[in-house]
Symmetry: C2
Subunit: 403 residues, 2 copies
Amino acid sequence: MKTGISVNRVPLARRAARLVPTLPAAEPADVISFGSGHGCPAVFPDLTEAAKAALNKHRPETLQYGPTLGLPGMRAWIARHVMENGARNIGPDNVLVVNGAKNGLGLIGRLLLDEGDAVVVTAPTYFTCIPIFKTFGVSFYEVSQDEQGLVVSELEEILARIRDEGKPLPKLVYNVPDYHNPSGVTMSLERRQGLVRAAEKFGVYVVEDSPYRKVRFEGEPLPLIKAFDASGTVIVLGTVSKLVAPGLRIGWVVATEDLIARLAQLKSDLGTSPLAQRIILEFVTTGGGYARHQKNVRETYRAHRDAMVAALRRELPEVRFTVPQGGYYLWLTLPPRIDADKLAARAFEEKVGIIPGSKFYAGKGPKGLGAPTNNVRLCYSHAEPEEIEEGIKRLARAYRSLG
Amino acid sequence: MKTGISVNRVPLARRAARLVPTLPAAEPADVISFGSGHGCPAVFPDLTEAAKAALNKHRPETLQYGPTLGLPGMRAWIARHVMENGARNIGPDNVLVVNGAKNGLGLIGRLLLDEGDAVVVTAPTYFTCIPIFKTFGVSFYEVSQDEQGLVVSELEEILARIRDEGKPLPKLVYNVPDYHNPSGVTMSLERRQGLVRAAEKFGVYVVEDSPYRKVRFEGEPLPLIKAFDASGTVIVLGTVSKLVAPGLRIGWVVATEDLIARLAQLKSDLGTSPLAQRIILEFVTTGGGYARHQKNVRETYRAHRDAMVAALRRELPEVRFTVPQGGYYLWLTLPPRIDADKLAARAFEEKVGIIPGSKFYAGKGPKGLGAPTNNVRLCYSHAEPEEIEEGIKRLARAYRSLG
């Protein structure tokens, strides 16, 4: 079925130019995947009892239309969760339940971004945020990261220069402060405070996206960036995808009541599934299943990380990386002569899926100096330890074959 | 928590002006609701077995991220469903699974509508579509309805006039052809064919939203408008909300492969819940539960309609309405001296919730002559027959009190 008429359809072509694929194509079954940040099927919890309660005891609620903002109990649980992570003065009215954190990011885009606007992202940044922002026709400013996370002094220089040149300031700074995707870096306390101060000074929003926060293997958790926000400049995105499972598509936005009310107006899908919300609520509040599950998640993914780190050190000792204290990813720096795009193509022939670093840059890289060509993101969450062993051997074969 | 900074935030204020509430506020428990089109809790099916299978046998699929376009089995089932309803040459590649039909309408807006564009709606129209379209900054052309549905000759006159005046044509015509919300009218076969021809002639899309199609009490179903579309001008919106239950938030868009691919790019939420999709698939394809459920839905809502019709004829014989052959709603025409907004306010004091007809007009009414002030929409789906009896008595009291 092809469209035969085109009289009135100019915008399609214009919009199409902005659009780029949001996810790598599905990989064949015999490929070991270190690509997308999928959960390990072995740690998915048994939600049967939670679903039974949701579908029977709560049937008039779970099978009906729900409130646009989310179930009151879900919003209260999320508010407590965010408070337990260091934020202050957050209540249910600061919470909008959404269809996964990415739905929240899309709504933030619809509310705040107009064609021609700009946003700030780290270099590298979470690759799925790039096409989402692009659908709004925005441009990017890229700011460097170091082992302390987003370099706030560089951000301030960029913002001051834009202001001094009389150009419109970017609308928001998007960042993943905990176990950054893809770099694995956790932003320091001082940088978190500094980022809020800079955002307030220039009047830009901070979008704090922290899906991996609870997937912590070592060390003490730092407060959310939101913890340092007294003016409402920080918008938090969260998800149960890494706390329970991605398949329920439950996430949240935490922001000022004013912003939440506006975002809810744009969330015109008649609310996130009350059934999915109630299954989550039953699971996280009934019995000890949630505590056991979180422990299982941490232990499983720590073992995955350790397996990947050990295999890399053995098979590819010339590759550098920082061992992340949590999250799903290793960010490899290859010798400069290795082109990561070529390596990814060769690795795929060896039946291992990796994502070259180039996908994680929204533009020309930090300071416009060009995006590095010798990084690779490896996801250790999805594959089992034996597959990780085998996958790194395949990756090493691909690497050696590049000479 | 109030936002203290405003330097860079002009768009918020501009967008806020466009936004109006999408749903009536929740009603207190002692109010009998003839307002929102909610399902009757007594007909919600038992999905426990479907959920058990989805959460166990299919766990690696249902708790993982799913495909952006939807589960292949769900897309195939939807394609078959649309074909069984008269459409031709529809396959899974013509289907995008969305978070309820309204999510689909929002995506269509994002793809097709720019600020300053126009859309065509019937007068009256489904009231939730009005704020959704308004978030895109569009204006409305209203076209009349009669007992055959949307008046295609009037639509053609409107489009010809716009073209002759050299103004931009509207991007789409939005219509609910089966048991129209709020009017209850079903569009005739000739009008369906005529609407497609007019849309093709002028190069505008038709958005065919038909949630109530299967809630049929009498008569034979007519083919979808899509059945007469060979050029790809008709975009179908569907939902399981009325087939199974609203709480799963599963809907679909059926369109050309090209449009589906573009809409999927804008659906940046990493896909509709594979768990909710699998629960539906299990329910509609396993055992006889789905067939029994559909029969139960039809019989229950027919009894609700009959109870409301009988009560109205007894309590309010001066009110006129057409008995709908399906769907959820009665559209009352009151004597012209009665102001329906005042009646709704008085009815609420009598503890019965109704929606005045004024909410269903996107503008000044058909031919710009002013929206009628003496209509009311009554929803008979949600309340039980005894509540319907009592609610209509309360409504009659409110009516008499207006003198």
